[in-house]
């Protein structure tokens, strides 16, 4: 990795940090649990790295490690987004409409 690409990458990191700070500070406490499960699902983005590791055929060790990584990251992504959706469906303003989104007990 050259110094230029390193600097470019650091730019991305620092700007993402600022952006994250600004966006997340505006999330109300009401939605902190969905926020946590949503960011958790998004951090399952390591799936992207896992996929390359699992498929690039660098020998069995890498493939098995990659397979396990793909599995764990997918659990995170699929589970995280599904449960966030399930939670958000429950939040509603005052209405007389019948309840929905409480299929699990």
């Amino acid at each position: 990795m050259t110094t230029e690409t390193l600097i470019a990458t650091l730019y991305v990191f620092v700007l993402a940090a600022f952006l994250g700070y600004l966006v997340i500070s505006r999330v109300p406490p009401l939605l902190h649990t969905p926020l946590m499960s949503a960011t958790n699902a998004i951090s399952g983005i390591s799936l992207v790295g896992s996929i390359v590791t699992a498929g690039s055929g660098h020998g069995w060790t890498s493939t098995i490690l990659g397979f396990l990584a793909v599995t764990s990251a997918t659990i995170n992504v699929v589970g995280g987004f599904m449960i966030t959706d399930r939670m958000l469906r429950m939040f509603r303003i005052k209405t007389n409409a019948p309840a929905r989104g409480t299929h699990a007990k």
């Binding site: 952006l19 946590m36 990659g66 995170n76 429950m90 509603r92």
Partner: protein, 456 residues
């Protein structure tokens, strides 16, 4: 082809940011999440076109297996178990980052170069410690292990020693680019450190720890991005890292404590002796007394705590509130930021029970209303309503912002038994003349109250 993948990643990053922005309001949150989901799909599809991929067998196997497990967990887990599920999910996410790092090291070894070696080490360090720490947090929340802090002599010295060892190996790796076993020793030490870090933390401090682990999981993903030179990983990981960090700071503020104090203070184990507490007789009240009080009140405020979750009483609370509202009583809910075991826990439980979010009030909003409140009903909450935090500078929780239910005209406390709260501190609220104690299972008591109010 490569620039197409990069463009897909760029679009995914934008969609993630828009998705999180949507979470600033419940109305826009669902659409926001769909954007983030589309972003993830785009990133995955883009990656599948990566030129290094020679075989899809194990990729597809992993995707299918992970989707099945993740989907099943998301579908069946009850809302009360949300903290456990989140802890487990942090463990999986961090494990993925760790495995990618280990595979990268195994494949390239010294060829990584100083910068990538540092990134891989950081990724594996954060990943391994988050994996084991989250698994331990899961075990505590699921009550497979006792929720009480586990402490022993020299704990902090041992932890700092291990941390120093990890940092030493870290620097050694970066300088020598050694492809030998020391890298794995470091990984092992990081895993052990994760366990030791969470062991002394009590169940009441879980909101902070959950947020911190959330942050570490994100930073591990960001480090992965540096290691494999992938910007969408850096952006998504950093967003997650910062979200967790901001939440930890908010949670600490809500308890008037510092992060170091939460991590190394072993709260709840040493404080019991300090707080001799107020003595006196708590006044026990009957269901019928409380029913009359509630039925003729103008404003009733419910204050839920973790006890509501353990008793699965959220639906019963909603029932009682509905019965009262039908009689013309105004009902509000007061939510303390650290009530429950993770940030926002109470809001989700009440939303599940169909409480409209417009009836949920934050600490700053509801505190001025307590003097006008006829009855404050405390359901399985203790430390967050302890007036000692405000009045007694000697109290171990002094300075923690509380819900000032003691300023209400009367208070009813639903409590399982006569024990102390999680922090092991006496609560003078229970001995005030205006306070009535209703002992027993919260769900049970609330169901009886509904009947009694209807009969009044």
């Amino acid at each position: 082809m490569n620039y197409l993948i990069e463009l897909a990643y760029l679009a995914a990053s934008v969609l993630f940011v828009l998705g999180l922005k949507g979470l600033s309001h419940p109305e826009t949150a669902k659409r926001g999440m769909h954007m983030a989901e589309a972003g993830m799909l785009l990133a995955v599809v883009g990656t599948l076109m990566h030129h290094e991929i020679v075989s899809y067998t194990w990729i597809i196997a992993g995707l299918l297996l992970g989707s099945t497990i993740g989907g099943a967990m998301a579908y069946w887990v009850p809302m009360t178990a949300m903290p456990q599920r989140t802890a487990l999910s942090h463990a999986f996410g961090a494990l993925a980052a760790t495995l990618v790092g280990v595979a990268e090291f195994h494949h390239q070894g010294a060829g990584l170069g100083t910068f990538k070696m540092t990134a891989v080490s950081l990724e594996v360090f954060l990943g391994a410690l988050t994996t084991t720490g989250s698994l331990l947090a899961f075990a505590k929340l699921q009550e497979l292990l006792p929720g009480k802090p586990l402490t022993y002599g020299g704990q902090n010295v041992l932890n700092l020693g291990i941390l120093a060892g990890i940092l030493g190996l870290f620097v050694y790796q970066a300088i020598t680019l050694d492809a030998g076993p020391w890298f794995y020793v470091m990984t092992g030490l990081a895993a052990a450190f994760g366990v030791l870090l969470v062991l002394p933390i009590g169940a009441a401090d879980m909101p902070v720890v959950m947020s911190l682990l959330n942050s570490y999981a994100g930073l591990a993903a960001a480090a992965t991005g540096f290691a494999i030179d992938n910007k969408v990983l850096i952006i998504a990981g950093t967003l997650d890292g910062f979200s967790g960090f901001i939440l930890s700071v908010l949670m600490c503020k809500a308890m008037n404590r510092s992060i170091t104090n939460v991590l190394f203070g072993a709260f709840g184990s040493t404080t019991t002796a300090v707080a001799a507490g107020p003595q006196g007789e708590a006044r026990e009240v009957s269901v019928d007394d409380v029913a009359v009080q509630l039925a003729y009140a103008r404003l009733v405020v419910f204050v839920p705590g973790y006890g509501m979750a353990t008793a699965q009483a959220q639906t019963a609370v909603r029932e009682l509130a509905k019965t009262l509202e039908e009689r013309g009583v105004a009902v509000k809910y007061a939510i303390h930021p650290v009530a429950g075991r993770m940030p926002g826990h109470m809001n989700v439980l009440l939303a599940e029970a169909n409480v409209p979010y417009s009836d949920l009030y934050e600490l700053e909003q509801i505190n001025p209303e307590f003097p006008d409140t006829d009855v404050a009903v405390v359901i399985g909450a203790n430390d967050v309503v302890n007036p000692d935090a405000r009045d007694n500078p000697q109290s171990p929780i002094a300075g923690m912002p509380i819900l000032e239910v003691d300023r209400a005209r009367s208070v009813v406390v639903l409590k399982r038994g006569k024990g102390k709260g999680f922090a092991g501190i006496e609560n003078p609220l229970f001995f005030k003349p205006a306070t009535g104690m209703l002992y027993g299972d919260a769900k049970d008591s609330l169901t009886k109250l509904v009947q009694a109010v209807k009969a009044t």
